[in-house]
Symmetry: C2
Subunit: 395 residues, 2 copies
C-alpha cells in the first residue's frame, strides 16, 4: 500500500528546490488569500520575497508597520526543509504553481492564489480537479440535506466526476461519504493543516479521504482553523471546481460565500431547493432567486458543469501520449479490456496494483481522455474512425 503510494506518486515537476523551500516558508509567514503578499510574490518571486519579509529591507509596495512586524515575527523562526521532510514522512507533499500537479484553474484567483498547497493522497490533484464539482452546505443540516448531499456525492461518482468539499459536519461530510460509498473520487479542502483532523469527529473520514482520495490545505502542517481561514478556504473550493452546489444553507451562511466566489470566478453555481418552511433552505432559495440554477440530482449538475468553459482536456482526446504516462497509470491502462468494461477490482488485479491506487489512476486516465466510468464499471474511450478523435468521456 505504502509501496504503491511511493511508486505511483505523480512527478512534482519543474519548480527548483530553492523556490519550493521559499514557498513552504511563505506558507508559514502569510495567511491564505493575502493579496498584498500575492502582489509582491508576483513582482519579486518567492526567494527574494522571503528575504524581504525576514530581513530589514523594504517590500516593493507599502505595508503598515504593524503588518510588516507580523510577517517578520513569523519569518524569524522557520525551517522549511524540516517542514517538507516531516510532510514527506507522513506521505504528503507540497505542490507549487509551476509543478506538474498544480491545478491551473487556481490561477484565476489572481494575487489571492494560494502560495502552494499541502497535499496528502495518491492521486494527482490536478487531474482530479479537472472534472470536479463542489457540494457544500450547512453543518447543522437536516436529514433531508444529508440525504441529498450523499445522493449527489454518489451520483457524481457514478458518472465519473470528482466531489470536492470541506470535510465539515453536515452536508460536506455526507457528500464525501456518498462519493466514497460509490467508489468515487473525493477531495477534502481543509482550513487547517492536512495533518490536523478537524473537526475531531471527522478524523476517520479525513483519514479515509487521504487514503482513497486527496486532502489538501493552504495552511502549513499543524496549523489550526480560524474563522477567517474557513472563509478563505471557500475560495479554493470555488476556484478548484467547475461548479458549486449548495445543499441547505441559512441566510448569510458560509456556503453562500463559496457560491458567490464561484460565480465571480465564472464557475456554475447551483442550489438544491427544499421546503420553504425550512430555515435551512432559506439561504439556498435566496441564491436561486438571484443567479443560481436549481438542480435536483447529479445528472442535472453534470448537464450544467459539462457545458461550462472546458477546463478538462478530454473532449479533444488524450493530451498525453501513452508513452508519457507514469508507470502505474500505464499498467492500469494496459489492464483495461479492449472492448468490454470492467470493475475496479478486476482492473487492479490485472495491473498488479492496489485497489485504491487503481481507482486513483482510473480517474486520472479519465481526465486525460483514455477511459470513462459508467456506474460501477470502467472502459476504454473508443476512438471514432472518421476523425480519429476519441469519444467524449463521461455522460
Amino acid at each position: 500500500m505504502s509501496g504503491g503510494a511511493v511508486e505511483c506518486r505523480t512527478a512534482l515537476g519543474a519548480v527548483d528546490e530553492q523556490q519550493r523551500l521559499a514557498r513552504v516558508a511563505l506558507s508559514r509567514i502569510v495567511e491564505p488569500g493575502d493579496e498584498l503578499v500575492g502582489g509582491w510574490l508576483r513582482d519579486v518571486g518567492p526567494v527574494d520575497l522571503v528575504r524581504l519579509l525576514s530581513g530589514p529591507g523594504e517590500p516593493p509596495s507599502r505595508a503598515s508597520a504593524e503588518r510588516m512586524a507580523g510577517y517578520r515575527l513569523r519569518a524569524a523562526r522557520l525551517d522549511p526543509a524540516a517542514d517538507l521532510a516531516a510532510m514527506e514522512a507522513v506521505g504528503g507533499r507540497f505542490v507549487c504553481p509551476g509543478d506538474g500537479e498544480w491545478p491551473q484553474q487556481l490561477d484565476d484567483l489572481g494575487d489571492a492564489r494560494p502560495i502552494g498547497l499541502w497535499v496528502r493522497g495518491r492521486p494527482s490533484l490536478r487531474m482530479w480537479a479537472l472534472r470536479s464539482v463542489a457540494v457544500v452546505g450547512a453543518r447543522a443540516c437536516t436529514d433531508y440535506g444529508a440525504h441529498v448531499a450523499a445522493s449527489l456525492g454518489a451520483g457524481l461518482a457514478e458518472r465519473g466526476w470528482v466531489l470536492i468539499s470541506g470535510a465539515a459536519y453536515g452536508v460536506d461530510g455526507a457528500a464525501h461519504r456518498g462519493a466514497l460509498a460509490a467508489d468515487g473520487a473525493t477531495v477534502a479542502v481543509l482550513a487547517c493543516g492536512v495533518d490536523v483532523p478537524y473537526p475531531r469527529g471527522h478524523a476517520d473520514l479525513i483519514a479515509q479521504i487521504a487514503e482513497r482520495g486527496v486532502v489538501i490545505a493552504e495552511l502549513p502542517p499543524g496549523a489550526h482553523p480560524t474563522r477567517s481561514r474557513f472563509v478563505l478556504r471557500n475560495r479554493v473550493i470555488a476556484a478548484l471546481t467547475r461548479g458549486t452546489v449548495v445543499v441547505e444553507a441559512q441566510y448569510r451562511s458560509g456556503s453562500l460565500v463559496t457560491a458567490r466566489h464561484a460565480q465571480r470566478l465564472g464557475r456554475a453555481i447551483m442550489g438544491v431547493p427544499g421546503p420553504v418552511t425550512s430555515g435551512l433552505s432559506a439561504g439556498v432559495h435566496e441564491l436561486l432567486r438571484e443567479e443560481a440554477v436549481l438542480v435536483t440530482d447529479a445528472a442535472e449538475v453534470i448537464e450544467l458543469v459539462g457545458r461550462i468553459g472546458e477546463l478538462a482536456p478530454e473532449r479533444c482526446g488524450p493530451v498525453v501520449p501513452r508513452d508519457l504516462l507514469d508507470p502505474c497509470a500505464a499498467r492500469v491502462l494496459e489492464a483495461m479490456p479492449a472492448r468490454a468494461s470492467a470493475d475496479v477490482r478486476r482492473i487492479a488485479r490485472g495491473a498488479g496494483a492496489g485497489y485504491d491506487d487503481a481507482l486513483a489512476r482510473l480517474y486520472e486516465l479519465q481526465s486525460l481522455g483514455f477511459v470513462e466510468r459508467h456506474g460501477e464499471r470502467w472502459q476504454l474511450v473508443r476512438r471514432q474512425r472518421a476523425s480519429g478523435s476519441p469519444r467524449r468521456g463521461g455522460p
Copy 2:
C-alpha cells in the same frame, strides 16, 4: 343580504339585450376556447353568428360538416332568455365583452377569448381581477403543499390582493380557504356551470366563495366538467391574473399547463420549491429550471407581479371620480376614517352595509386607487401634496 346584493350590483354596461342573448346562446353552442367560432364571432358579431349556426347558411370560413352538424344540433334547442332569467333568480349574471364588468385582460386570449362569463357573487369581477394572482397545484397535494397554498392565500389577502384558483381539491381549495380565513377576496373559476358544485366535496367552499367572493365559468348553467373543459378553464385563470404560482405539481400536470399559458400571455410565472425527494414538487422544479421565478412567500409573489405590466390603474390614482361610484361603494368610501385605518366591521357599520358587501366594495375601491389594505385594516390612500396624485396602493 340579498337586498345588498341587488342594491350594490355593478352596472353591467352598454351591451344591448339582443347581443347579450346571442352570446348566452353561443355559450350553449360552443365549447370554451373554440378559436374557429371565435374568429367568426369577430367577423360577423354574435347575433348573425347564432343565425348562421342555427340556420342552413354557411359560416364565413370553412368548417367540417361534422363540426357544423354539432353546432346546429346544440343550436336547435336554445332558450337564452330562460337561461338568463334562471341565473338571475339565483343571484347570478352573464357578463360579456363590452360590459363594464368585463375583465379586459381576457381579450389577450384573442379568438380563444370567452364568449361571455357566468358570474355569481357581489363584487365586480373586473375590479377584483385587476389585482389578482392565481395559485394552482396538485389535487392530491401533501400537507406541505396545502400549508404553503393556504399561507399564500392568506398572505396575498393581507396585502390586499385577490386570490384566483380553480376550486379543486388540494392546492386550489387550500389557497381559497387561506384567503377566506384572512378576510380576503377570492375568485373561483369553474370548469362547469356556476350552479354545479364540483367537486362535490367542495360544495360548501364554492357556496362560501359565491357568498363572499366571486364564482365564474364560461360553461352555461347545468354544464358538467370534462377533461378538456378543465384544460381550457386554465387559460382563463392564466389570462385573468397578473401571475400564476404553482404549488406542488407532478411532471406533466395541469397546473403546469396553466403556468405555461400564463407565460405565453406575458404574465408572471412562479413556483414554490419543495423537497427534491418529493414527486409532487418535481413538476414545479422542472418549471423553475425553465422560466419560472422561485417564490417562497406572498411578499415575493407581490414583489414580482407588482412589477409586471400594469393592468391595475391604482398607480396613477383613481380613474373614476368619486361622483361616479355606485351608491354602495360611495357609502363605504364615506365611512372610511379621514386619517386612521379601520377594520371591515367598523367600515361596514358606518356604511350601513353588510360585512361581505363592505369587503367586496373595499377591494373594488382599492383597485380604483381610493383605499389600501394593511393586514387586517383598511385606510384611505393619501394624496401627495406636490403632484396631487395618490400614493400607490398596496405594498
